[in-house]
Amino acid sequence: MSKKLLCLMLFLQLLFLVACSEREKKVPLEDVGMVGIIAFDYIDKDSMKLTVAIPQYSPEAQRSTQTFTVVTDLVSNGIVEIEKLSDKKIVFNQLRVVLFNEEFARQGNVRKVIQHLYRNAEVGNKVLIAIVKEKGEEMLKYNYPDKPNINFYLNDLLQPSINTAFNPNTNIHDFMYTITNPVYDPIIPFVDKNSDKIEIKGIAVFKGNQMFELINPKEALIIQAIQGRKNLAPLDITMEQGHGKEKLLIDLVENDVHIKSNKSMTLPKLTISIEIKGTLSEYKGERENDLFTTESLAELEKDVNKELEQDIKKFLDKLNEWQVDPSGISEYFRMYYYGKWTTEKKREIVSKVAIDVHVKTSIISTGTLK
């Protein structure tokens, strides 16, 4: 009996004591500003301009996105400043895209900023990174007349689709992985505002911590092919192999790559064999009217092989001259090297390596028309 009484007393006490507890301040959802895009613009060595875009859900608002810009030295400091300007509590749970302007990528410390976001538990690892030609702030503040919201627009644009599969679609994990891994140099898509649209102009290749060069999407496709990606974007080939100027497009490309190194650090040599399979979707040139037999197709395949081999070799030689390795070919030497692998070793290998490329193309079909 007394036990029951005790329980009752305890229960009653707890019931009344609830009022004494300190109420934790919980912010209701409509008062939370979920940052969708964050952009960094370079000012000088110590400061940067930080812009955030927050989707605006209030029906009365004229614009669908709130943007805030502050000048700051630390990322978190900037967020605190933005919180002072904003009517909402700023959170990063919905962050989708991080932008850096070109100057920041060339001068500033992209790694430091990304590492800060990587550490933050609110931020997922799938946040995409891109580099903006002029100013990130401008890109976010511009009113795109036919797009509902910059937050979704930019995110969708940077997501890979099969036709933009060349897009390396670098997210926070990929960037941290490639920048901390001494066999890689990071690559990040490079976008520019083109009147009312945003366009992926190319791919920025980093050398160490800084952005080094810009390569075109077609070259980035080669990087992806060497990294062993199975499905590639349509191959657009222009060639001159004894039949005048020819243009063709191979669609639905399936890729299979084998890379072998000779395991030598002094005389490094790499053999890359690439097998691609695809449909010939369009052809323009001299042979247009006699591509109906298997013999003529085999002939064409041979020419394509030659052309691709030359293209790939030329591109890889260019990378070796720059001493950067975005496709991670030095991994094939690290695999056989006992001891600690360093970035210097990568640069050394890449500058010395002799590359042999073999391409085997097979055109499976030419579409449904005979």
């Binding site: 934790e24 690892n125 941290m176 901390t180 891994n181 991994e331 001891g339």
Partner: protein
């Protein structure tokens, strides 16, 4: 007395397998790749080595227990080392268990606080956790064993969440094999990593309750190797997915492995993982708390359920103690060394046993 004894035999082979298995997997595995990171990419096969060490050290434990089939280690200590020395050692173990439990809970709560509940204090969650813990432990060793079986089947599905990381990872990271030279690195990895697979040594305390004691070694071994396999999968996929810098610096690398994937309907799978992890923590801590309670029983030579509550309160205060994080870390770290001692303890006991036997023969 005889009815009492037959009642004590509670654990069937399945219970034994999963008691060993579930107790081994706690918070340790969450940061196992980081603990082993002094070896870099070569860490992938360390869990297999740990498995071998565990299988070898398990044997003396079972052997000494099989000499006293109805006594747990606390009693064996008293029998072999004399009442006072035995009790002193037992007290030592009980304190170690308490700190060890507090360490695991504090580690998990630290994780919860830094990822899931950033704007809350952890007092509430710790209290709820301890209440649940006391509830499980008060059911006795069989209820813990059943909870372990439940835990295994509830959480084994999480292995599936690592497949995105597996797909994205690079097999070439495994090469070159055994790429380390310094003995110091190797020692460091064993010292820090072995902790993650502790838990099987508790068999010395629940051995008297096992029905088929002759096969206990085999059953425990099955449990150990299930856990080792899970540890191996974890480290292997981490090695494939991360760079060496990431292995060293990402604290809860397993959760980051979960982050690699996404379903169309749920994005942050790591949060899902953290919350499911509470089962693994509970099963580990429950077994340790049960042992600690047995220890108190033997110290005070009187059984009472109140000890369980007192222990829970002590643990609560150790977790919430007002000392600096640095001191706490050192304390938990110290407790880990004692845990290693516990693994080697049966070897000493065997020596004492052999000496005593000799003496008896001489007499």
């Amino acid at each position: 007395m005889s009815t009492d004894k037959s009642k004590r035999k509670l654990l069937n082979p399945y219970h034994v397998v999963f008691l060993a298995q579930s107790v081994m997997i706690g918070t340790g595995i969450l940061s196992l790749p980081q603990q082993l990171s002094s070896l870099g990419y070569s860490q992938a096969f360390m869990p297999l080595l740990f498995g071998v060490i565990a299988s070898v050290t398990l044997y003396p434990m079972i052997w000494i227990n099989s000499k006293y089939p109805n006594e747990n280690l606390f009693r064996i200590n008293e029998i072999l080392l004399g009442k006072w020395l035995g009790k002193f050692i037992n007290l030592f173990f009980v304190i170690q268990f308490i700190i060890f439990i507090a360490g695991i809970i504090s580690n998990y709560m630290h994780l919860i606080q830094s990822t899931a509940l950033q704007e809350q204090t952890i007092t509430g969650p710790v209290l709820c956790f301890l209440l649940l813990l006391v509830y499980i432990v008060s059911g006795g060793i069989k209820s813990i064993a059943r909870f372990c079986i439940l835990t295994f089947f509830l959480t084994i599905g999480m292995v599936y969440f690592t497949h995105w990381a597996f797909e994205k990872g690079d097999f070439s990271h495994f090469l070159p094999l055994y790429n380390f030279f310094s003995v110091h690195d190797f020692y460091e990895a064993i010292k820090r990593g072995y902790l993650s697979i502790l838990g099987y040594e508790l068999i010395m305390f629940y051995f008297p309750y096992i029905v088929d004691q002759k096969k206990a070694y085999r059953h425990t071994l099955i449990g150990i190797w299930i856990s080792i396999l899970i540890c191996f999968i974890t480290t292997a996929i981490s090695v494939m997915y991360y760079s060496e810098w990431q292995l060293e610096n990402v604290e809860f690398s397993v959760l980051n492995l979960f982050k690699a994937g996404e379903f169309s309907f749920i994005e942050r799978i790591d949060i899902f993982g953290i919350t499911l992890w509470v089962f693994l923590i509970l099963s580990t801590v429950a077994a340790y708390l049960w042992c600690a309670k047995k220890g108190v029983d033997s110290l005070l030579s009187k059984k009472s359920n109140a000890y369980l509550y007192i222990l829970a309160i002590i643990i609560f205060f150790v977790v919430k103690m007002p000392f600096s994080r640095d001191f706490q870390e050192k304390l938990f770290y110290g407790a880990n060394y004692v845990a290693y001692m516990l693994i080697l303890w049966p070897i000493l006991l065997i020596m004492v046993y052999a000496l005593r036997k000799k003496k008896q023969v001489q007499l």
